[in-house]
């Protein structure tokens, strides 16, 4: 492994981080928009958002990515910049999973809170903004953390479409040197460190959000507890399963 190849891999980290941040931002917007729409009073909004979630959770992220890359330019004549297509694919897919987290978080707020908002004649928007979400968001953060790690892992898919992220650069380095073991162990380690950092940031956010409504986060125990990146009590990826709600 020469210095140039390592440098290429480090440039790949930057692409992976960018992709993760952009698609997480898009995914968060989609998740909140679709997740709140699913609790709407209007049946058409509920139906459309339910349909969105069913479709995007039902299909595979990679298949959708290929579809955006190869079918959309032919069928509709739009050619995306590769980074944009990848961001769109990841954001829309993981946003659908996020929508279920948002819906679940909103549903978990005690009904009396909503009723109190109605009694005080808050508008629906004020209720959501001032009463429901401040209490729902801290509950959503641990599952969002899991989803974010799934998203980070999902960014590796873009290497199959030629976007030079960590996995793609690793593939090039392997072709150049043939040192598969070193290279792949190194980049698996990089992904692990990235996942660990993401978890730290999310824990911090959770602590802040909980402090904002006067709660303390649960303690994590021991060395294995520190190592445990995903909040596993909440049955991690079960929500990632099918299209049904």
């Amino acid at each position: 492994m020469t210095a140039e190849l390592w440098e290429a891999i480090f440039k790949g980290i930057w692409i992976t981080v960018q992709l993760t941040v952009y698609s997480a931002a898009l995914g968060a917007v989609v998740a909140f928009a679709v997740g709140t729409a699913r609790t709407s009073r209007h049946w058409i909004l509920r139906f459309l958002s339910g349909f969105y979630v069913a479709v995007f959770r039902g299909t595979s992220a990679l298949v959708f990515m290929f579809w955006l890359f190869f079918v959309v330019p032919l069928a509709f004549g739009w050619q995306f910049v590769p980074m944009w297509a990848a961001t769109l694919a990841l954001g829309l897919t993981y946003g659908a999973y996020g929508a279920e987290i948002v819906r679940g978080g909103i549903a978990a707020v005690a009904p009396a809170q909503r009723e109190a908002g109605i009694a005080l004649s808050f508008t629906p928007w004020q209720r959501m903004r001032r009463i429901i979400l401040p209490q729902a968001v801290p509950e959503m953060l641990p599952p969002f953390n899991n989803l974010l790690i799934e998203l980070l892992k999902g960014t590796a898919l873009v290497s199959l479409l030629g976007i030079p992220d960590i996995s793609f650069e690793a593939q090039l380095a392997r072709l150049a040197t043939g040192q598969s073991t070193t290279i792949y162990l190194a980049i698996l380690g990089m992904y692990f460190v990235l996942a660990f950092l993401l978890t730290r940031v999310m824990r911090l956010l959770e602590r802040r959000a909980k402090a904002g409504i006067g709660q303390a986060p649960p303690k994590s125990g021991g060395i294995l507890g520190k190592l445990r990146i995903e909040e596993t009590e909440r049955s991690t990826k079960a929500g990632l399963a099918g299209g049904a709600q």
Partner: protein, 216 residues
């Protein structure tokens, strides 16, 4: 949008070949993940921390790194170690290993969900360790975890397209090959996308039904 049904007709034989491989990878990968996951779950309950910590680290490491890179690792590194397997077998091992780290959590939750009275009763009847696990704890734990395991089967199914990275001809790769040969991309990719929804949506409805039947 110019949809051409004759292309669909041409693609269909390849599509069915792809479906067969996808379902095969899903079925065998799931079985492997069920078995390995139980192994991890039991090892994580051993009293010795010299077993628990390495296994815990291994499981966390696998779970928090991308499946695609793990597949590349297995595909390119195993032959260097003298293990020769087909791409599909490598894919099944990779995907089964990856998902076993998720099923291990499911089993853990299932085992912890068995009431303490069951352990005490087994003890009071002086059942040996093997019988306690085999006849008392696991049958109750596994019943609870069936729907959660089923959901992972669906998630695993949706990750099988990654096997194209190591050259397995599953559904998506069939569509890609077909596109590369005929320059017809619209129909094959759309069909594969719809096929995933058609398989996974009813499957997830079925899991919800199972959840109502078995857990509550």
């Amino acid at each position: 949008m110019n949809w051409n049904w004759s292309v669909v007709d041409e693609f269909m034989p390849y599509f069915w070949d792809g479906v067969r491989v996808t379902l095969q990878a899903t079925a065998l990968g799931s079985l492997l993940s069920f078995a390995l996951g139980l192994v991890w779950a039991l090892l994580l309950r051993t009293p010795s921390r010299f077993v628990r910590w390495p296994v815990g680290f291994f499981v966390e490491f696998i779970r928090n790194t991308p499946l695609l890179v793990q597949l590349f690792f297995l595909f390119y590194v195993l032959p260097e170690w003298g293990v020769q397997t087909s791409a599909l077998a490598t894919g099944i091992i990779g995907i089964g290993l990856h998902y076993s780290t998720y099923t291990a959590e499911v089993y853990r939750a299932g085992i912890e969900g068995v009431p303490a009275g069951q352990w005490e009763a087994a003890r009071a009847l002086s059942l040996p360790r093997g019988r306690t696990w085999g006849a008392v704890i696991l049958p109750q734990a596994i019943r609870r975890v069936v729907p959660a395991l089923g959901n992972y089967v669906i998630a695993l199914l949706k990750d099988t397209p990654m096997l194209l990275g190591i050259g397995v001809l599953e559904m998506l790769n069939q569509a890609r090959q077909f596109g590369a040969q005929t320059f017809q991309y619209i129909e094959p990719y759309t069909i594969v996308g719809i096929a995933f929804i058609l398989i996974s949506y009813p499957a997830s409805l079925f899991m919800r039904y199972l959840e109502r039947r078995l857990v509550h």
